[in-house]
Point group: C2
Chain length 483, copies 2
């Protein structure tokens, strides 16, 4: 018997079913109806008449049925959105009809109460040792696959990229995909896997590691399903991470005692095995991430600077504001990430000092009011060429200047200068980053994406992302892999 | 002889002079020309003809002169923007003409090189024991006084408020005033004092403490002028802070070794007396602040919740996202600020659990997809009334919902619910805060300001601001003041 390629069916389905469509939540269908070939899309609902009457245009060409029995057997991917009372019978019908991959949106399961726990146990049994079907969930948002032409959210970009996400939180999936789309990074897949009783984070990581459309893997994890032994699940994850050959940004929720309690009510996960996670961080190349902001920033760093090879964990900071640089280095010191901000040494220091009348040639390099772009670039080139500098963060307010605006010519010069700054650094293998004070300036942010320059909200957030890239590129000790 | 009230002359001048106007930086004049009575404003420039020709409309009605000798004696406030070569002779002329308060914009002084140090020493001598004049600066942006009808920046609001700032960084002054204006907080004064060789931060704090237009004081400090003994300056500041009876948010730059180096090239300050700062934090009611973000967040907290009296350093978190709550409590734990997020106790827990079908009645209170505003408010009221809860942070995406939009009626209901949530909490003396995932939604932010609800970019930033308010309202030990 030929083995079923569940991931092909999950991410590149030829047939798709949405079971439990509700006219009051019709927006839930957007990411399926507007992207997937309509003649291969099946919508099953108790409210067919209502849907037909009120959403005729939207549903034109889609197969609309009132019973699962009316749709073909062997659907590649199906989404189940029914109340928990009807969940088990619905799933049993799907399994009878040999549906391949089934996403259970429904919650109120193992994470909620005793009754939900009972339902989830039954679900677990239905998929345990099941050779024909895999389940995503329950209690999750499901799948986004731009190349596979469907998305659980109508708000995600149709543009495909090389980032793959697996997450135990649906809302974080929304925020991660939404924020990274807005910062110029696009996805091969995102999978919100919730309580993950069948397909687990480690399964998806195995697939992403082998997949040609994926270069960077992101993961938000809380813990392991309560139906399997956590030692076993921990070992499975550990093996997956050891095999992995791609940058993998691992955001772990529930690192604090309060967080562990919250994780258990969120996904019913047992998040308390600190020793499992510690050995994962020590013995695999997974990049440990502490917060959502750090995850997004580090992803942006890999998006725009993955070809750089920083030799030292050391930065040059360039500012026009003394106060911001003082607070910036204070914050970088507080990160405790081993990041150095080395002073510019002689003879370069003296060469540079001759070129300015105010400010400071140290590090941070403080150049207030220097509007001569040629002189500015000369100073820049001298400083970034120093061997002990491995990455550059420049504070810039963009073409909007406090109290006045630039002419068209000045704006062009300004952007040309940013471009050559980036090129100069990248040729040396050094990332060029900017931090911008007015982070709501969306036009400027868009322009920076065009220039492929990573932008951050503060010096310390840029520094942390840089440091994560540096550590990934310079693993301290050769890792010993027992494969 | 009647003592001169320098602060009245500084913040509410009857006559104002700008010395060194340059046609290439004419935007620098905006905040003076557009706000101050023109017939009492004097502009002195070497480029009078150029200015007259090219900026006729702008300068209409203003007194434009080419020499300081042409303008009246005894100008209340003057701004000096000349190169450092001409600085000393210009100041001497101003002093001969008995100008009362003089702001030196010019940099390249003590913070820059030996020559600058020499100029600054001369300046220091000119103002030491001077009974007729005070200097602001050098190397700073100067004064913003909305009630006094002038501002060094044309970008600051003309609306006056009750926050007063004194800062050793001009750019941070820009960012603090600009960001807080955008978040609904307004100023009585802002003073960027730079190297502060004559008027110091402590002098301005003394004034703000006595001033009826000021309720909250913000300060960014790097250290003390290198021309006075730092022990003496430290004691002077210490005395000012002991006398102070208003909330004072103290952001200290140069807490790290790298930051100290940067501070010395920024304002020539000696920032290394850690023991001075430690005793200030221990023995005064100044609120120690670590970063710009924390300063802004805490200011917003005092803006909207200063009447609240939180009894415990404990929070209720309300979310619709399990992942965000797990990461939120993890981040709050990492703050090490002693903040508790206590679980909801019986019998309230059971009463609440009966009302929901998915989510979690714990703390964070996770209510995904609960769109019944009446039920939501019932749950809310039960939880916030618990004695051990002292502040509430609610995650809300605003009326824009991911994947769909609300009807006008729904939006009204949504805002009405926010309003009564705030009122319910405030009646109990508990702050009601929100955190919003899409922080670029400016319309929503504006609406929250109207509702007087403080908004933060993350749970942990809200929690830190809350904790600062809590600590101010509950000083652990009665302070002993030796006045």
């Amino acid at each position: 018997m030929k083995q079923i390629d569940f991931y092909k069916k999950l991410f590149y389905p030829k047939t798709l079913a949405f079971i439990g469509a509700n006219p009051r939540r019709v927006w839930h269908l957007n990411g399926y109806i507007n992207r997937f070939p309509k003649d291969s899309l099946y919508i099953v609902s108790n409210y067919c008449d209502d849907l037909k009457e009120n959403f005729e245009e939207l549903l034109q060409g889609v197969n609309l049925c009132s019973e699962i029995s009316e749709i073909p057997d062997g659907i590649d991917h199906s989404v189940i959105s029914v109340g928990r009372k009807r969940l088990l019978e619905t799933i049993e019908t799907c399994l009878d009809k040999k549906f391949y991959t089934i996403h259970v949106f429904s919650a109120g399961t193992g994470e909620f109460d005793e009754k939900g726990f009972e339902i989830e146990s039954q679900l677990y049994k239905l998929f345990k040792n099941n050779e024909n079907s895999r389940l995503v969930g329950p209690n999750c948002m499901g799948i986004y696959s731009p190349r596979g032409k469907y998305s659980y959210s109508g708000g995600f970009s149709e543009k495909a990229g090389n980032f793959a996400l697996v997450s135990q939180s649906g809302d974080l999936t929304n925020r991660i995909v939404g924020s990274l789309n807005a910062r110029g990074a696009y996805f091969s897949y995102a999978a919100s896997v919730g309580n993950s009783i069948s397909l687990r984070s480690s399964d998806l990581i195995d697939y992403y590691n082998k997949d040609d459309n994926t270069d960077v893997i992101l993961s938000y994890m809380e813990g392991f399903s309560q139906f399997r032994k956590s030692e076993y699940e921990g070992r499975k994850l550990f093996e997956s991470l050891k095999k992995n050959r791609k940058p993998l940004l691992l955001l772990k929720g529930g690192t604090s005692d309060l967080g562990k309690r919250a994780a258990s009510s969120h996904t019913g996960s047992l998040a308390s095995q600190d020793e499992i996670w510690n050995s994962i961080y020590k013995q695999t190349n997974a990049i440990p991430i502490e917060s959502l902001e750090e995850l997004l920033d580090t992803a942006v760093m890999f998006r725009f600077c993955s070809n750089c090879e920083p030799k030292h964990n050391s930065l040059l900071m360039i500012t026009y504001s003394g106060g911001s640089s003082v607070l910036g280095v204070d914050a970088i010191s507080r990160l405790n990430a081993g990041i150095d901000v080395p002073a510019i040494q002689e003879p370069t220091h003296s060469k540079m000092k001759e070129l300015i009348r105010v400010g400071s040639i140290s590090n941070p390099l403080d150049l207030p009011g220097l509007r001569d772009e040629e002189k500015r670039f000369k100073l820049f080139k001298l400083a970034v060429s120093e061997e002990y500098i491995s990455g550059i963060i420049q504070l810039t307010s963009g073409p909007r200047f406090f109290g006045r605006s630039m002419s068209k010519e000045e704006i062009e010069k300004y952007y040309a200068n940013l471009r050559r700054s980036k090129e100069t650094c990248n040729k040396l293998g050094k990332p060029f980053m900017v931090t911008i004070p007015n982070s709501n300036d969306n036009d400027f942010r868009t322009k920076l994406i065009e220039l492929e320059i990573p932008a951050f909200n503060s010096f310390s957030r840029a520094a942390k992302a840089f440091s994560n890239l540096y550590r990934y590129k310079n693993p301290k000790n050769p890792r010993i892999l027992h494969e």
